[in-house]
Symmetry: C2
Subunit: 139 residues, 2 copies
DNA sequence: AAAAAAACTTGTATAATACAATTATATACC
DNA sequence: GGTATATAATTGTATTATACAAGTTTTTTT
């Protein structure tokens, strides 16, 4: 029976991921959204730290950060003591975009779980978070 | 409080999706895996039906099916009554690959939820499925 | 029989990613 | 203090997954 649960989780995760991959919700791409979210909630950081946080290649984050900068959502702040390093600071426009995007995403998710009980929504959120934390610790 | 649940689901979904996108589990790509799974569990089908099932563009499925064919996991069967149409039939090799991949994926998921109770695993699987079904119906 | 529709493939473009090479600066060593 | 090495970041190149547009072949409609 344990096997059966795993099978269900595994398959449904695969389906979920394929279905939501590439379907843009608002204006921000998923990667840009998460990067902005991270900078907003944990403060300015450089590409190395951000890449480590997300378990992405530095080059990937470098491009994403450059794209955010180009749109004016973050500014590049030179490190005062290390001439090689920068950190990315969110701008007011970036905060606005982040909140707008979050709102759009919440509305979309809300529409899907419209008929769920509050308890179900809560448990689903908590289990997703628990799964993410466990997966991060095992990587 | 409802808002808070949505926010959690929304954020954790975004994290989950980014984390699992591109990280290959076994030999089969996610798209190929789901396509094989579908053909295996619902029988041979053509690209149009498969694309409709997955809500993907026909051209996308056409390429994926061609890739599976090239690897010998499916064979292309001409439609006996319509010269334009084919269906894709899973091969023994395809079944073997599918099962191997499923096993690898289950092991990986199993590792993440190793310390979860049976009930938590069950509920997580069920809520994921419920979410997927609801999302599919709203698309 | 010609026109329109349908099933599928192929061309082209975009997003997200990784790995390899490169650039510029900092640190270590002697 | 100068050379060698390490580090922070960017840039080049490739892959996967996707969409949309154009093209091919066959079928259906009229």
């Amino acid at each position: 029976m344990n096997e059966h649960h795993l099978e269900m989780i595994e398959l449904e995760l695969a389906i979920l991921i394929r279905r939501t991959t590439t379907k843009k919700t608002g204006n921000l791409e998923r990667s840009a959204y998460l990067l902005l979210h991270q900078i907003n909630s944990h403060g300015a950081a450089g590409v190395k730290a951000l890449a480590a946080e997300f378990d992405l290649d530095i080059s990937t984050v470098s491009r994403q950060a450059a794209a955010l900068e180009q749109k004016g959502y973050v500014t590049r702040v030179p490190d005062p003591v290390d001439g090689r390093a920068y950190s990315f600071q969110i701008t007011d426009l970036g905060i606005k975009e982040l909140l707008d995007e979050k709102q759009a995403r919440k509305a979309k998710v809300g529409n899907v779980v419209k008929n769920w009980s509050d308890e179900e929504k809560q448990i689903f959120g908590e289990l997703l978070k628990k799964f993410n934390i466990a997966a991060t610790n095992k990587r």
